[in-house]
């Protein structure tokens, strides 16, 4: 979680995020400033110590982004698009496997994402489809989105949940540890059409590439020349 000072410095120097979010950046950074997100309360009730056998609390900050209150945009500013943040916690799936599905749908419109997920032969595809449909419903019901298909996937990622361990037997009475992995899946839908390129380092069209190459060649100078 970056502080407001660091965020401002990044905006001022026009640095790109790792992974290079372009269209999402302008909308993402201001809304992620800590001052506008509601306060996160204590993890557990007062007097209860954190112990490994207590049920995991899971991510709590992500849904709070929905409760931000923004100042009204001016007449000359572009209208702020509606967004909804949704998380599916403690899903019985591995984060490493979920990454592939989460990264596939980044930057897609929700219709396209749901269509493509139908043809992905993985358990995570079902989980992500459900999460997208829930988020879509939330957007229309609570976040003033007019058309449910006018949404695109601005952020989609998965993090590690609680890992439970069990024992198994290998050959020759050798023990093995079985990891029962859980994951949290996060998605943020934004209203509007998806951007042409989601990542900043996407390949340019051939004409653009040629133009850039020519520019670079023309900028060459002979050192110590007149």
């Amino acid at each position: 979680m970056l502080s407001a000072r660091i965020l401002q410095r990044i905006i001022a120097t026009n640095a790109t995020w790792p992974g290079g979010i372009t269209a999402a950046a302008a909308i993402l950074l201001p809304s992620r400033s800590p001052s506008s997100v509601p306060e996160l309360g204590p993890t557990r009730p007062a007097g209860v110590r954190a112990m490994s056998f207590l049920p995991p609390t899971g991510p709590r900050r992500w849904p709070l982004y929905n409760e931000q209150v923004f100042p009204p945009t001016g007449a000359d500013e572009a209208p702020r698009p509606a967004f909804v943040c949704h998380v599916k916690t403690n899903v019985k799936y591995s984060t490493k496997k979920m990454w592939y599905i989460a990264s596939m749908i980044r930057g897609m419109s929700i219709e396209e994402a749901l269509k493509q997920l139908q043809f992905v032969n993985k358990k995570g595809a079902q989980i992500v489809s459900e999460a997208l449909k829930e988020a879509q419903e939330m957007a229309v019901r609570d976040h003033n989105v007019e058309f449910k298909n006018n949404l695109w996937v601005a952020e989609s990622f998965a993090t590690k949940g609680r890992v439970l361990k069990g024992l198994r037997r290998h050959a020759r009475a050798r023990p093995g540890i079985v990891h029962y992995r859980y994951t949290h899946y996060f998605v943020r839908l934004e209203e509007g059409a998806p951007p042409e390129q989601y990542y900043a380092d996407a390949p340019l069209p051939p004409e653009e590439m040629l133009k850039r190459w020519l520019e670079q060649r023309r900028q060459r100078t002979i050192t110590h020349s007149l």
Binding site: M51, S52, F53, L54, P55, K96, Y100, I101, S103, M104, M108, E112, K115, Q116, Q118, F119, V120, K122, L164, K165, G166, L167, R172, A173, R174, P175, I177
Partner: protein, 207 residues
């Protein structure tokens, strides 16, 4: 009581972590991994053996392959990343899931499907209807051997069949309406009149 169950589960998880190491140690007689903290918490290894026994090093056990196949070098992060996520220019190709661009749109129900396959929504709709019909037929048939053709009749279609025809077939009446997509006319080969005069037609443009 729930707190008691949680304590037991937490203890079980901690026990697994702790005793997996001890079991390794016990079987291999002091070899294998030995994190000191876990062992200290457990109270030490039950069977302690000297690093070099008095009669010299023991002969290697032929059937114990515990430490035979081990990685020789650490995998660099570049190789790890290439293996997991791939790269388009490499022979392995991308490991990422590629979105499909050859999906076809079903004109009857509006859902997408892969070329060369049936539309799954249409197929499942037909399948569920078929199962219902089969169940109704089986219920009526019971254990009597099939001796007549089965005619399935939906609501409002019984009147179209006269009694003589009805006696010749085994009539199965369904209380539901006929689905819109289920045509009554499946046995007729074509609705357009078949051409009776067939003469060879010469192409006029070829000269």
């Amino acid at each position: 009581m729930i707190n008691g169950v949680r304590v037991v589960w937490g203890n079980w998880q901690r026990t697994i972590d702790r005793y997996a190491v001890i079991i390794y140690q016990a079987i291999n007689g002091g070899g294998g991994p030995s994190p000191a903290l876990a062992l200290a918490a457990a109270g030490g290894v039950p069977h302690q053996r000297a690093a070099t026994p008095p009669g010299g090093a023991p002969p290697p056990v032929a059937d114990d392959g515990f430490l035979w196949a081990v990685p020789k070098y650490r995998r660099s992060v570049e190789r790890r990343m290439m293996r997991r996520y791939g790269a388009e220019s490499w022979p392995n190709g991308r490991k990422l899931i590629k979105p499909k661009n050859n999906l076809i749109f079903c004109l009857k129900c509006g859902s997408h499907y892969l070329p060369g396959m049936l539309c799954m929504t249409c197929y499942n709709r037909v399948k569920s209807e078929t199962e219902e019909l089969q169940k109704a037929v089986a219920q009526q048939q019971g254990l009597t051997p099939p001796d007549r053709e089965v005619a399935i009749v939906y609501r409002g279609e019984r009147e179209a069949i006269d009694d003589q025809q009805a006696k010749a077939v085994r009539l199965v009446e369904l209380p539901k309406e006929r689905p819109r997509w289920f045509s009554k006319n499946l046995m007729q080969r074509t609705t357009t009149p078949v051409a009776t005069e067939t003469a060879p037609v010469k192409p006029s443009d070829l000269g």
